[in-house]
């Protein structure tokens, strides 16, 4: 069981690649529409240094934006989740802001901050703070009043309640939102790079696509996907350590 668990993601991944490869050759999908995994692998192999050069930058900007998003998103979530006023006044604005495709805002950033790392970090940040804020806010707003009363009966301040009950209680959902947010951070920095940057996977992708090297575009995508998965592995480890209590007797343990 334990072993099967460890193999499963690779097995499913491989299966997917296989289906993709076969479908590509069976339906004769041209490589400039959707390259087959083999073609992508070749492009990846041939351009590995270039890809490394660009992807390291993307990883950096993504993490920068993500860290900002975690800090700001948690703060915003705490505000929105613990004050009715903040909830009713900020939520609609946030929704409005987030419905807007950031592609339209990147040019503004570029004009203000110049081409380079700043717009990418800011775009990654703008795309990814919202899920964190929403989940933290929901976590705080749905704390069992009984648990909150335990702290309030000790004369705890609102901040104490948030720190001692709110945050731990919402941790599983904070982690859930981190999973969503990291993916959005990647999307954000890559999009910003596609629109204005001299380095990064986004740059690589526009350049490759301008030269009609579609397999290289997809090689870039694959690298992003892997970086996303690597980040996920980090969170998953932290999550297991910090929120074990929340999944204590989950279905996972049935029969155990």
């Amino acid at each position: 069981m334990k072993n099967l668990d460890r193999i499963a993601p690779y097995a499913v991944g491989l299966l997917l690649l296989l289906v993709w490869e076969i479908a590509c050759s069976a339906f004769k999908v041209p490589s400039f529409v959707l390259p087959s995994p083999m073609e992508i692998a070749v492009a990846l192999y041939q351009n590995i240094y270039v890809i490394w050069f660009h992807s390291s930058q993307t990883l950096l900007t993504t993490l920068g934006g993500f860290v900002l998003a975690v800090i700001f998103g948690t703060g915003l979530g705490v505000a929105v989740g613990s004050s009715r006023m903040a909830y009713s006044s900020l939520y609609p604005l946030l929704i409005g802001f987030n419905s807007v495709p950031k592609v339209a805002i990147v040019p503004v950033l570029v004009v203000w901050f110049g081409i380079g790392i700043v717009p990418a970090v800011l775009t990654a940040f703008m795309l990814s703070f919202f899920p964190i804020a929403v989940n933290v806010a929901t976590g705080l707003a749905t704390i069992e009043p009984e648990l909150r009363d335990v702290l309030r009966s000790l004369g705890a301040s609102q901040t104490d309640v948030v720190r001692k009950v709110g945050i731990p209680r919402s941790l599983p959902y904070l982690f859930a939102s981190l999973k969503i947010s990291i993916t959005l951070s990647f999307v954000g920095s890559v999009i910003s790079e596609t629109l204005a940057s001299n380095r990064g996977i986004g740059t690589l992708m526009t350049q490759a696509s301008a030269n009609f090297k579609i397999p290289l575009v997809f090689a870039g995508l694959v690298v992003i996907a892997f970086m996303g998965i690597a980040m996920y592995a980090v969170f998953a480890a932290a999550e297991r350590r910090m929120t074990g209590w929340a999944v204590r007797g989950s279905n996972f343990a049935v029969g155990g």
């Binding site: 041209p30 400039f32 351009n47 004009v111 081409i115 350049q207 301008a210 030269n211 009609f212």
Partner: protein, 317 residues
């Protein structure tokens, strides 16, 4: 000595013709003219116009047609061209042999793909008028620039419009034989307009005449070097951009020279950067008709004040 910093934006991702400035950088033509130039790729002519107008860049390489349009929309923020790099616009209709389209008149009843924003699509009205076809007789399909060739190759549209120098090579990359590709250039079919130029804000030009002069000089030196030895130009770009495909871009450059964009009879006779006032007048008039704007005075669109004497800007034989 003190080098003056200049931020320069190209119109698009690095392509063969951009070797003009790659060589100017590599061979220190800019430095010799007192300039410290940082060069960034662009994201479309329209975008470059905006970035120069907004002050994010000092100088841009962009389509003069886009400048005319922008000036009309933003009279307070206008840009001025000070050196014409492309003698003609590479805008064309591109199609495949099997479509049966060989001349403008054949387009009637067909679908053409292009971004709404593309100058080739916007200019189509004028192109249609020049060729006496009804603009309403073709059906446009909108798509991102890099989707064009795919859609044509896949048969989702009958033709596309855009820069032939881009589309032809993308189609070849998609596995279409060169001889199956049909190009109908606007400039050979009654719409002989100017193409891309170096532009800047008039205030900037006024304040920094030396920079402009120096930039023009370096550009001419770069062009001469490139025309003499295209391969060295490709190598110069490749140095800074490992993704650059030297062979493809050398072909593209040769193509741009062939079709009279980068190398033309007018340039050969009158020197690089030469502007024929009559042809520029046509360019301005065509744009004003297409965009339904008052034709701007020619001196608000371009200036030749910074061109060195003709002898100093003759292309190599």
């Amino acid at each position: 000595q003190d080098l003056k910093p200049v931020h320069f934006s190209l119109d698009w991702a690095l392509q063969g013709n951009h070797a003009i400035w790659a060589l100017a950088l590599k061979n220190k033509y800019f430095e010799e003219n007192g300039l410290n130039v940082t060069m960034d790729r662009g994201y479309g002519s329209g975008d470059t116009v905006v970035k120069v107008a907004a002050g994010a860049y000092d100088i841009g390489f962009t389509d003069i047609n886009a400048v005319i349009k922008f000036n009309a929309e933003n009279p307070g923020q206008r840009l001025v061209g000070f050196y014409q790099v492309f003698d003609r616009t590479p805008n064309s209709i591109i199609t495949l042999k099997k479509s049966g389209i060989a001349k403008p008149a054949d387009l009637a009843g067909h679908t053409i793909g292009a971004p709404e924003a593309d100058s080739s699509r916007i200019m189509f009205g004028a192109f249609a008028k020049a060729n006496s076809i009804d603009p309403a007789s073709v059906k446009w399909v909108s798509m991102a620039p890099n989707l064009r060739e795919t859609m044509l190759a896949q048969g989702q549209v009958d033709a596309i419009s855009g820069f032939s120098s881009t589309s032809v090579f993308n189609l070849i990359a998609a596995g279409i034989p060169r001889e199956d590709i049909v190009v109908i250039p606007y400039s050979d079919n009654g719409l002989d307009l100017y193409g891309s130029a170096l532009v800047a804000k008039p205030e900037y030009i006024e304040k920094n005449p030396d920079i402009i002069k120096g930039f023009v000089k370096a550009t001419i030196e770069g062009t001469v070097a490139l025309l003499k030895d295209p391969a060295s130009g490709m190598a110069a770009i490749k140095e800074g951009d490992p993704l650059f495909d030297e062979k493809l871009e050398a072909d593209r450059l040769a193509y741009l020279m062939d079709i009279g964009v980068l190398k033309s009879k007018a340039f050969d006779e009158n020197g690089l950067g030469y502007i024929d006032p009559a042809k520029m007048e046509t360019t301005i008039k065509t744009n004003s008709e297409v965009y339904n704007i008052a034709a701007p005075a020619a001196d608000t669109v371009y200036t030749t004040a910074f061109l060195p004497p003709q002898a100093e800007r003759m292309p190599p034989k």
